[in-house]
């Protein structure tokens, strides 16, 4: 969990993932694997297998939802826009970290004392919110946080025993799982692919697949658990603490059925509790990768996390560990039996 803690506490706004790259480079250097980088900001770690064995790409994205400075007020606050999808309602009254220096700041609302009754239920949109870092005037704010500075939530990773809490399980949980999966022994070539800019439109995925031409992509990610009260059963994405989530289809990809069935069968044979992603929503890097190199089959394994895309989310250790176990078992199986026909 130490690696997950480091990954989650680091700042990685889309296009600004250098901290994550450093943590990954440090981790893989212990395994004796040097990084491969490209011009857009993806980073890859290749664990060579035997020639002739399949090349399997383990995919996760490094970025998280964030804010970006778009202006400065005369009183010295920062105007912001979203990078990736954030519900306006979760931004109210949060602590944030601004820029590489991690300057502390807060997003405040009008105090309840002075709200009129009709304002009680009105949500302030992002473009009307400001980040207050304590600057006295515009000039100081411009100096401290120039336009384009990225802002992430100030949330500490905490280990609650069976559950962990942090800000960015989407997709640091995936990054963690890729790292852990690659510790396995296999004759397949494994490519750990950590892409940039997924939250702003799957920006990095294409380059990864074109470069390494894998036979199969296993996308690992943190997905949204939907087992909250008020959510009807059939709208429930995934249940927390009920094992890794296997996608059959989302808005970007239909997972090839023979691969999906092989994955399920692997889970059953290894007695790993799994579940389907119960809704056909969202999209992942797989949506972009499936077309490349004449079509690259992708499967998606995800850990159900509660409240992703918000300042604070929860993940269960059992789900995270089972996700790694399943991806290892799946690769083992392909190593032994080859790709499904």
């Amino acid at each position: 969990m130490e690696l997950l803690k480091k990954l989650c506490n680091a700042s990685g706004a889309p296009g600004d993932e250098s901290e994550i790259r450093q943590i990954l480079t440090d981790f893989y250097s212990q395994m004796g694997i040097a990084p491969t980088t490209d011009h857009v900001g993806n980073i890859f770690f290749v664990k060579e297998g035997k020639p002739g064995k399949p090349i399997i790409m383990l995919d996760a994205h490094m970025d998280e939802v964030a804010l970006q400075v778009t202006g400065h007020t005369s009183e010295g606050e920062l105007k912001v826009a979203q990078l990736g999808g954030i519900d306006d309602r979760v931004l109210a009254s949060k602590h944030v970290l601004v820029g590489k220096e991690k300057t502390r700041g807060v997003i405040g609302l009008k105090p309840i004392h002075n709200q009129k009754h009709e304002e009680w239920d009105v949500v302030t949109p992002t473009n009307a919110l400001v980040v207050d870092i304590g600057c006295k005037d515009k000039a100081e704010a411009e100096r401290m946080a120039p336009l384009g500075t990225t802002i992430v939530f100030d949330t500490e990773f905490e280990d609650w025993g069976e559950v962990v809490k942090a800000k960015s399980f989407d997709d640091r949980a995936g990054c963690w799982a890729v790292c852990k999966t690659m510790e396995m022994e296999t004759e397949c070539t494994l490519v750990g692919s950590f892409t940039f800019g997924e939250e702003i439109g799957m920006k990095g995925a294409v380059f990864a697949v074109r470069r390494f031409m894998p036979d199969l992509v296993v996308s690992l990610e943190g997905t949204s658990a939907g087992d909250m009260p008020e959510v009807p059963e059939h709208q429930n994405c995934a249940r927390f603490r009920c094992g890794p989530v296997i996608t059959f289809e989302d808005r970007s990809v239909i997972i090839p059925r023979n691969y999906r069935l092989l994955l399920e069968d692997t889970a059953q044979k290894n007695s790993i509790q799994y579940q389907y992603k119960g809704t056909v929503t969202g999209g992942t890097n797989a949506g972009r990768m499936q077309f490349e190199n004449g079509g690259t089959p992708c499967v998606v394994i995800a850990a159900p996390c509660r409240y992703i895309h918000s300042p604070v989310s929860l993940a269960a250790k059992s789900d995270l560990e089972a996700m790694v176990e399943l991806s290892k078992a799946f690769i083992q199986r392909i190593d032994k039996e080859g790709l499904p026909q």
Binding site: T73, E77, G85, D87, D88, R89, V90, L91, A92, S93, K94, H95, T103, G105, V106, G108, L109, K110, P111, I112, H113, N114, Q115, W120, D121, V122, V123, P125, D132, G134, C135, K136, E140, M144, E158, W160, E162, V163, K165, S224, M228, P229, E230, V231, Q235, F240, R241, T279, T281, G282, R306, Y307, I308, H309, S310, P311, V312, S313, L314, A316
Partner: protein
């Protein structure tokens, strides 16, 4: 002052559950060299005697409770239903970290429906009836540790911003409690002609009950409430918002004008910038309780402007709070033994 404030801010203390702040307050006052006592309401008194028999008594209060939530029930899956206990804006709750005070302190978060279930453009706030505290644990674990009515407080944050400003939870009113500590330290070094009673009071956010009983107990000749008030912030200004960089002296029908002018003189002497909040009936602080309890004793209110009041990101300029302490000290030093000309 910052270190003391951080210590106070890190403690959770909802209305009726102020024991921990009381404990720290007693400890710090005794470090400053004074005796303390506590009453049945949980008010902590620090009496600073000038030594003269029958000296006039000045009571200075600061409340120790904060806006909080309470456990209202549980769902089958172990989500904790919450309800407002004392002045929380439900709009700030989604995505907030909280602590449930059950048999132990249980960390939890208040989530929001997953994005695929919220309609884009849905600009209405989630009502508190549809918000839950989530510990991530199953129902039997949760109900074994948490009972209905247990307190739920914000996870305590304390961030240092630029220019000596700090942001955190419960600056309303731990800031004023901290100011009392600083004042006690300062008073150790000066000679007064009056007795001063510093009171760390309880249950202000739910109606000022602690301040009421403190006034009955002390029977002061003059009462001053130290509190926080709404500061000017982005997009908000006007009568209800006070300048961020000035100490605010309240003015209204129940404020004694002579005390006010004595404060103004002290401010002028120390070159401290002040602003004025004018209210029409009551000050909405503990001073009201003191005034009511003791049949209209002279009262005054010193407020420090805080941005984003009652939210976990309350922000204050600490130099203003320091000026506030200096101002009260200067005011006390200028009081004659008879209080003549002041009341």
């Amino acid at each position: 002052m910052k270190e003391t404030l951080e210590k106070f801010v890190r403690i959770s203390s909802s209305s009726c559950h102020e024991e921990k702040v009381a404990e720290l307050f007693r400890q710090m006052i005794s470090e400053a060299g004074y005796e303390t006592r506590i009453d049945r309401m949980g008010n902590v008194y620090a009496e600073i005697s000038c030594g003269a028999d029958g000296a006039k008594k000045i009571m200075i209060t600061a409340h120790s409770d904060e806006p909080a939530l309470a456990v209202q029930g549980f769902t089958e899956d172990g989500f904790v239903r919450i309800w407002d206990w004392s002045g929380v804006d439900h709009k700030v709750l989604p995505g907030q970290e909280v602590v449930i005070h059950g048999t132990c302190e249980i960390p939890a978060i208040i989530g929001i429906l997953p994005p695929h279930l919220t309609k884009p453009g849905d600009k209405k706030a989630v009502p508190i009836t549809k918000l839950y505290a989530d510990t991530g644990m199953p129902a039997d674990w949760v109900t074994g540790k948490v009972k209905i009515g247990d307190q739920v407080t914000f996870k305590k944050r304390f961030s240092e911003l630029k220019n000596g400003r700090v942001a955190g939870c419960a600056l309303d009113n731990r800031l004023s409690v901290t100011m009392l500590i600083e004042l006690a330290k300062k008073l150790k070094r000066v000679k007064l002609d009056v007795d001063v009673v510093l009171v760390c009071t309880t249950q202000e956010e739910i109606g000022g009950y602690g301040g009421f009983s403190a006034a009955m107990d002390v029977k002061p000749d003059l009462a001053i409430a130290v509190d926080t008030t709404t500061a000017e912030q982005h997009g908000e200004s006007g009568k209800s918002y006070l300048p961020f960089d000035k100490v605010c002296l309240d003015n209204g029908p129940i404020i004694n004008p002579k005390i006010r002018s004595a404060f103004m003189n002290a401010a002028e002497k120390l070159n401290i910038k002040t602003s004025e909040y004018i209210f029409s009936s009551t000050s909405m602080t503990e001073a009201d309780s003191a005034w009511e309890a003791e049949l209209g004793r002279p009262i005054s209110v010193v407020s420090i402007p805080v941005r984003y009041l009652h939210q976990p990101v309350e922000t204050v300029d600490l130099s203003v709070a320091e000026s506030g302490v200096d101002l009260i000290c200067e005011f006390l030093m200028g009081l004659p033994a008879s209080l003549e000309g002041v009341i």
